[in-house]
């Protein structure tokens, strides 16, 4: 098992390995723990890389196929690294009715990516979720953890520019 996994593990630094081991250990004695372990891995790493799944299979004895069956069934788990700046749009009913689609179209047009994708420079990632919990502010989006309510399509250009400027400033 070790030898087949080795080539894939080459990108994995030791801290990830440690993370995965810790997560698996934490939930070791609990029944039906697979989903909770995956949650913890994603919490730490931001997504569930293939290497982590392989290692988890080794740690827990659960076949990789079953781990992937679970990972792919549940929308919450991410298999690829998210972008540097995440824009989450609420596609709950209230936001849908108040025109979130127009915001999404504008974002997709300006960034040249679709819902759920990341730009080539990995600077932006957009995704849609259901009800963010602030329907009073519909249509709502979350930009890097900060909620912005009552958005209109004309906000989009400024938003993207703002983030780009900030990124340039950081370099």
């Amino acid at each position: 098992m070790k030898s087949t996994a080795a080539p894939l593990l080459e990108h994995m630094d030791s801290s990830m390995e440690e993370d995965v081991r810790e997560c698996a250990n934490h939930w070791k004695d609990k029944e039906g723990n697979l989903i909770m372990i995956l949650h913890e891995i994603q919490n730490r790493l931001g997504f569930v890389p293939r290497e982590a799944s392989l290692l988890l299979a080794e740690e827990t004895g659960v076949p990789v196929a079953r781990i992937y069956e679970v990972l792919t069934f549940y929308h919450y788990f991410k298999l690829v690294a998210p972008g540097k700046n995440n824009i989450t749009l609420c596609n709950g009913t209230a936001c849908y009715l108040k025109g979130i689609e127009r915001i999404l179209t504008e974002l997709e047009r300006r960034l040249g990516i679709k819902d759920g994708e990341t730009t080539e420079d990995r600077l932006f990632h957009i995704e849609t979720v259901r009800c963010l919990g602030c329907c009073g502010m519909a249509p709502a989006i979350v930009v890097n953890g900060k909620t912005i309510g009552k958005t209109v399509p004309t906000d989009v250009a400024g938003l993207i520019e703002g983030i780009r400027k900030q990124e340039v400033g950081h370099e």
């Binding site: 609990k30 029944e31 039906g32 723990n33 697979l34 989903i35 909770m36 995956l38 949650h39 069956e69 679970v70 069934f73 549940y74 929308h75 919450y76 788990f77 596609n91 709950g92 009913t93 209230a94 936001c95 849908y96 009715l97 108040k98 025109g99 127009r102 979720v129 259901r130 009800c131 963010l132 919990g133 602030c134 329907c135 009073g136 502010m137 519909a138 709502a140 909620t147 309510g149």
Partner: protein
């Protein structure tokens, strides 16, 4: 056995609860997800700083949500020796003003004060403030003019130094002209004309007599059972919960020492599952109590799936101990050995607060071994969902908790007989459980006293969409849709004509204007082709397109179908293609027949509730708004393009066509 007498139990539980002097001032900031999104944390910090700088002995506290989503962030202020005042839409400058102007100088802040909902008819205390708002319509607000006029009248009687006239943010009364509320008495006048102002000053302010002809006497249509403590207590403090009657129901049950008494109380209350299906809770508990198994589980279903509803999240974030107490009571009643919360991972704050509540309860001996010295053992864990709507269905939820894909299983066997890890399992919704402590403490009859026909008690609804004041409401069963949409939530935004209200989310249906006067019960909604569901209520105006809305809900169900059975997997997809075809103006009348046929097949042949109910939004749209589908079919692509353009520009439909 004497140590489990009610007195002893309560004493032992309340021993460490520090008392708070309620006369002392306090400030409560609503910090649920909505409040935080609206910047509540910053407000909390600003107010704390300002209080410290001013050297005031006022305690600033975190609470959950009162349900007023439209006016987040919300801050409640209690000046020493006064009645609490609610401020809404608090921004940075309001936060400072709350401390500087209100706390220190007793000057309320214009355009942020929210009037008390429970109006009074007795003037026992002299008036110090008058809240004023023109409630007639959104634009052309005459509140400022009326404020100036009233100030003038007060000046004429020499009262202007004693009484402040404040423009209110919201009075809870809509379309009733100029509304005035006296603070602190709560006496409220409506449809006040300028000629009445002098009369109010002479009679009410000077002679302390109520003007019967102007008095607002309508009782608040809301009744808070599940939301009893939401927005009033600190959700991260067990002491706060205990001070407000938390765990009183549980200590009572434990002192009585007979689990079947709990089942009886819940049976008498007539409580039915609030997760959607409306199965009688007492009966479910009785069945699970009688099932035999080495272990027995109770699960709180907090996987709130309706993509526009936030009742369960709000309760978990605002009063987690109420749900936990309900879960403990359920466990006690059915003899469960272990309990679980299955919470959506997308609700991190709810997860955090529930985990904290569990820890606190364990520390205080409410969970674990030998609970409060009774010899009974029970403990609770949290498990997370992972973004699959179907996992709200009970057999899929169980599969997910076992660490598998969330695919439903055929029932029977029902979970109450063979559930989690093959053991008897009782699954209840958050709202169902949150009502239980109230029922056990006050008796089933008290709960059953509210409601209509076979739907007893109260129901929480999350009213959103094109409504003026989106919020969480709790009303007795049997309240009309009209009362919720218009009386409580102020009607349709921008005064555009009402089109329909969608209840029950992706499993429910839409009800048109002609059914607005329907009293809401499980049965009435079902008869009209919708369902109660978990309590999402989406208001739509004339500009909304029912073909699009049906497609939205159906697409949701297609995306969320687990794919296990063909009627749902294939039928849903095909129906969606047909609706999309119609919405592009390429449909024909036969398509409508075909859609209906697929609906029938899905309803009868799908394995689980998702597939069985997915046709509901489409069927009810066809039932009440078939002409819209036909307009697309007859108007063809030209009509569809025009329609799409109008919608994307947000233009009213009539102008576009």
């Amino acid at each position: 056995m004497n140590n489990t007498s009610l007195d002893n139990l309560r004493k032992c539980l309340h021993r460490q609860v520090p008392s708070v002097a309620d006369e002392a001032g306090w400030i409560k900031v609503g910090l649920d997800t909505g409040g935080i999104a609206a910047g509540g944390e910053r407000i909390f910090d600003l107010i704390s700083e300002a209080v410290a700088t001013a050297g005031l002995d006022v305690c600033v506290r975190r609470v959950g949500s009162r349900g007023f989503a439209f006016m987040d962030p919300v801050v409640e202020v209690n000046r020493p020796q006064s009645r609490p005042v609610l401020y809404g839409m608090v921004n940075e400058s309001t936060a400072k003003a709350i401390v500087q102007d209100y706390l220190i100088h007793n000057r309320m802040i214009d355009d942020h004060v929210v009037a008390e909902r429970n109006c009074s008819d007795s003037l026992d205390v002299p008036t110090s403030h008058i809240l004023i708002q023109d409630t007639s319509c959104e634009d052309g607000d005459k509140s400022s003019e009326s404020q100036i006029a009233l100030q003038g009248v007060l000046k004429g009687c020499g009262l202007h130094d004693k009484i402040q006239v404040v423009r209110a943010l919201d009075m809870g009364i809509y379309g009733e002209g100029l509304v005035l509320q006296l603070y602190p008495s709560g006496v409220t006048y409506y449809n006040v004309l300028s000629k009445d102002l002098q009369r109010i000053a002479d009679t009410t302010l000077i002679k302390q007599a109520v003007l019967k002809d102007l008095l607002w006497t309508h009782p608040d249509p809301q009744l808070r059972v599940v939301l009893r403590n939401c927005g009033r207590i600190d959700p991260e403090s067990l002491d706060d919960a205990l001070r407000c009657g938390g765990y009183d129901g549980f200590t009572r049950a434990l002192a009585e020492g007979d689990p079947s008494l709990v089942v009886d109380a819940v049976k008498k209350s007539g409580l039915r599952g609030r997760g959607g299906a409306g199965f009688p809770t007492g009966l479910k508990w009785e069945i699970t109590q009688q099932s035999k198994g080495e272990r027995k589980f109770i699960i709180c279903n907090a996987d709130e799936g309706d993509p526009g509803a936030f009742m369960d999240r709000s309760v978990l974030e605002s009063d987690p101990h109420a749900v936990l107490e309900g879960l403990i009571l359920a466990a006690y009643a059915i003899g469960a050995t272990e309990g679980f919360f299955y919470i959506r991972a997308e609700y991190p704050l709810a997860v955090k607060r529930v985990n904290l509540a569990i820890e606190q309860a364990r520390e205080r001996g409410l969970l674990g071994k030998d609970i409060l010295g009774s010899g009974w053992n029970f403990d609770v864990q949290v498990r997370l969902g992972a973004g699959a709507f179907v996992c709200g269905e009970e057999t899929a939820l169980i599969a997910s908790m076992e660490g598998c894909r969330g695919s439903p299983h055929p029932r029977p066997p029902f979970p109450s007989v063979k559930g989690l890890w093959g053991m008897p399992t009782c699954i209840n919704n958050v709202e169902t459980l949150a009502a239980v402590p109230w029922i056990v403490d006050r008796g089933g009859e008290a709960y059953a006293a509210h409601g209509m026909d076979k739907s007893r008690g109260t129901k929480v609804f999350a009213v959103t969409g094109k409504v003026k004041y989106p919020q969480l409401v709790e009303v007795p069963m049997g309240t009309t849709l009209h009362s919720i949409v218009y009386t409580i939530c102020g009607g349709v935004q921008n005064d555009i004509p009402f089109k329909g209200v969608q209840t029950g989310g992706p499993s429910g249906g839409v009800l048109p204007e002609k059914h607005l006067e329907t009293p809401i019960t499980y049965e009435t909604l079902q008869a009209l082709g919708s369902i109660m569901g978990s309590g999402g209520m989406l208001v739509m105006d004339e500009n909304d397109c029912m073909v699009d809305v049906s497609a939205f809900y159906l697409k949701f169900c297609v995306d969320e179908s687990c794919g296990k059975c063909a009627p749902c997997r294939v039928g849903g997809y095909q129906m969606l293609q047909l609706i999309i075809k119609i919405s592009r103006g390429r449909g024909c009348l036969d398509d409508l027949e075909q859609i209906r046929r697929i609906c029938t097949a899905m309803q009868s042949a799908s394995l689980c509730g998702l597939g069985q109910t997915a046709p509901n939004p489409v069927l009810s749209s066809l039932r009440y708004f078939e002409d819209e589908f036909i307009a697309y079919i007859e108007g063809g692509t030209a009509y569809a393009r025009k329609r799409k353009k109008a919608l994307s520009e947000g233009n009213p439909l009539k102008e576009a066509i």
